[in-house]
């Protein structure tokens, strides 16, 4: 099998806050293969957005800092790339779309102004050539009347239209990887479906890989090939989408799946007891231990579990699966 397109290894990121240093990512690792849609799920605040933003190196520093690890993209470590090269990569090879289509476009410039600017930041194109590229891309995300969209200000478009503009803008240079940070969360359910369909179609057609950040397991089931589950700054389970739903290994993943509305035929909706630990003083050992129904003393509270492979395409970080079970 080929080397993965994106290979994040042991990435650690922290933020300075008033209360102290928050370790938002702790040795997080995951891969995205060529042409694959990789889901990244977890509760809000688990670090999934920070992880996707770290790939583009657009987390604000300070207060944030990338403390360690590697982000290999097409074989090169992005964390060691000089500023200028990193800038050229953004929008050209790796693009990103965000949750808030409301605020993600600059309110004082027209859509056309902003889209053409992206084209011309990456290749020399005349205004007319850039406009043609924009029209083509707006058409690809199935926006009606692309010409009038180009002339519009963001506030004149609906949320769904804005998000399509964002997608068009992100894909206009034909990147290899799209980082999608909860792009459908703020949208109506019907619009959500349309956006997902467009993303799936474009990914298939252009051979695009997507790292899809979401907290919605339903979206994962609909769109993704593989899934990484994050909890409190760590990746706790990675598997193909079938295995995650059929045989979730980590107790946290099991809780996530049990709490999807409509999964359980009757009875109350399941909620994982307790709350996410503080990233400033995380519990020692396994970070999920305080909320884990299977937690035992000893190993669970002393040693952080390593990732172990439980099936060909299924890894999990939990002491239930470490060699010889619990110590």
């Amino acid at each position: 099998m080929n080397a993965p397109l994106l290979d994040i290894r042991d990435l650690s990121v922290s933020f300075d806050t008033y209360q102290g240093r928050a370790r938002v990512l702790e040795k997080a690792s995951l891969t995205v293969n060529q042409g694959e849609i990789m889901g990244l799920v977890g509760e809000s605040g688990c670090g999934k957005s920070v992880l996707s933003r770290s790939v583009l190196r657009i987390i604000p520093t300070p207060p944030g800092s990338i403390d360690g690890g590697q982000i290999l993209f097409e074989g090169r470590d992005l964390l060691r790339l000089p500023q200028g090269e990193m800038r050229r990569l953004r929008g050209e090879r790796i693009s990103m779309i965000f949750q808030e289509p409301m605020n993600s476009l600059n309110p004082v410039f027209t859509v056309g102004n902003q889209m053409r600017e992206v084209v011309r930041a990456h290749r020399s194109a005349s205004r007319a050539e850039a406009t043609d590229a924009c029209l083509e891309m707006l058409d690809a995300v199935r926006l009606p009347e692309p010409r009038s969209v180009l002339r519009a200000f963001p506030h004149e478009l609906s949320g769904g239209m804005r998000q399509r503009v964002m997608i068009a803008m992100a894909l206009i240079c034909n990147p290899a990887l799209l980082l999608a940070d909860e792009p459908t969360t703020a949208l109506d359910v019907t619009v959500q479906g349309q956006i997902l369909a467009i993303l799936a179609e474009l990914a298939g057609r252009q051979g695009l890989s997507i790292l899809f950040v979401t907290h919605d397991m339903g979206v994962v089931a609909q769109l993704c090939h593989r899934v990484a589950v994050m909890y409190a700054g760590q990746v706790v389970e990675i598997a193909d989408v079938g295995s995650i739903f059929a045989r979730p290994a980590h107790p946290y993943t099991q809780g996530l799946i049990a709490s999807i509305p409509g999964r359980v035929s009757s009875g109350e909706l399941y909620a994982i007891p307790g709350s996410v630990p503080s990233p400033i003083e995380p519990p020692p050992g396994c970070r999920f231990r305080p909320r884990c129904p299977h937690a035992k003393g000893g190993g669970c509270s002393d040693v952080a579990p390593e990732m172990v492979r439980v099936a060909p395409d299924h890894s999990v970080a939990c002491h239930l699966f470490t060699s010889g079970g619990l110590p």
């Binding site: 583009l56 965000f98 600059n106 309110p107 600017e117 992206v118 200000f153």
Partner: protein
């Protein structure tokens, strides 16, 4: 078309404010002084003269009647007669207006040319050296008495270093350029008289700097804080994520947004500049309306003082109307 509707609305809203301004000015001149008639003729006039004026100006009538009379004159450009030189105040103010306009415009240009880059720098390098320097500089700016700053500048650049002239718009021996705009800088350029232009600028620089300093501090502060707010917005992250250069992100995407709050507050703070002009012109013997009004105070020339007050506040209201219009062009989301 929505912009047009917005502008019309703003203009209509300014009208009652201007009427209010005229009423307040009227009250200050007619209701506060014990004897407005004496104020008009001056302290040395005879009793009979005072009585005659009272009749002539209808000062024995009820206040509303007096106001109507005052307003009628006002609309015909009549601000009364100066006590010192018996000329219409309107004529005097018109004579002194270009000098004040030149000084305030020069200060404004200086403020914007220095204050905006400084504010941006402070925002981009937040909590680093440049930011701290800018903050100290602007705290001192808003705390400095303008008239004292002017004296200190004179002491340093005129008295001790001898680099710049200390008073007036020109050397005593020179004559002004042919009047086209009344602004000597522009008139000198139009006349292609470069030696004179140099002289005009050397006279302008100290008063313009003095007047701009306080306002500069205000501008720097607003630009800094609105830039900081804008730089935290999602669309800035988008712009960076799309691979735009840092310069484009800051100077195009962030800057235009930060201008929206900046122009509003900058317009409101222009009052500082107008007020400061009075003191600056006095210090530098700048022959403008500000010096005229202080001279009027010293000779208790009340019609002149009130004429200036009315003109300055009307200008202030109109400028802010202009700022509102500018705001509409900067911000495509006017929701009126």
């Amino acid at each position: 078309m929505r912009i047009l509707a917005y502008i019309i609305k703003r203009v209509l809203a300014a009208i009652p404010v201007l009427i209010g301004v005229s009423i307040l000015t009227f009250l200050i001149s007619h209701a506060i002084p014990g004897d407005p008639a004496r104020i008009i003729v001056g302290p040395k006039a005879s009793k009979e003269a005072v009585e005659a004026i009272r009749k002539e100006h209808g000062l024995d009538r009820p206040l509303p009647v007096q106001y109507v009379r005052y307003m009628t004159g006002l609309l015909q450009g009549d601000l009364g007669q100066s006590i010192r030189n018996h000329r219409p105040v309107t004529k005097d103010l018109a004579d002194f207006f270009p000098a004040t306009l030149e000084l305030t415009l020069a200060s404004l240009v200086l403020c914007l040319a220095v204050g905006i880059p400084l504010g941006i720098l402070a925002a981009v390098r937040r909590n680093r050296l440049a930011d701290h320097v800018a903050r100290v500089f602007s705290v001192i700016g808003v705390s400095t008495p303008v008239f004292w700053l002017g004296l200190m500048l004179l002491l340093l650049f005129y008295r001790n270093l001898g680099w710049l002239p200390g008073s007036g718009r020109l050397d005593i021996t020179s004559s002004p350029p042919a009047a086209v705009t009344g602004l000597y800088v522009i008139d000198a350029v139009l006349a292609r008289d470069w030696a004179l232009l140099k002289e005009v600028l050397s006279h302008l620089i100290l008063p313009a700097f003095c007047l701009s300093y306080v306002y500069l501090a205000v501008i720097t502060r607003i630009v800094r804080s609105s830039m900081i707010a804008v730089l935290g917005q999602d669309y800035i992250t988008t712009a960076r994520a799309n691979g735009l250069s840092a310069a484009r992100v800051v100077f195009k995407h962030a800057f235009k947004n930060s201008l929206i709050p900046t122009v509003t507050i900058a317009g409101l703070s222009l009052g500082e500049l107008l007020g400061g002009a009075i003191l600056t012109e006095t210090i530098f013997a700048w022959p403008g309306m500000g010096k005229y009004v202080v001279d009027s105070i010293n000779s208790l020339d009340f019609p002149a003082i009130m004429g200036f007050t009315l003109l300055a506040s009307t200008a202030y209201v109109v400028i802010n109307l202009g700022v509102d219009v500018l705001y509409a062009f900067l911000n495509p989301r006017i929701r009126y």
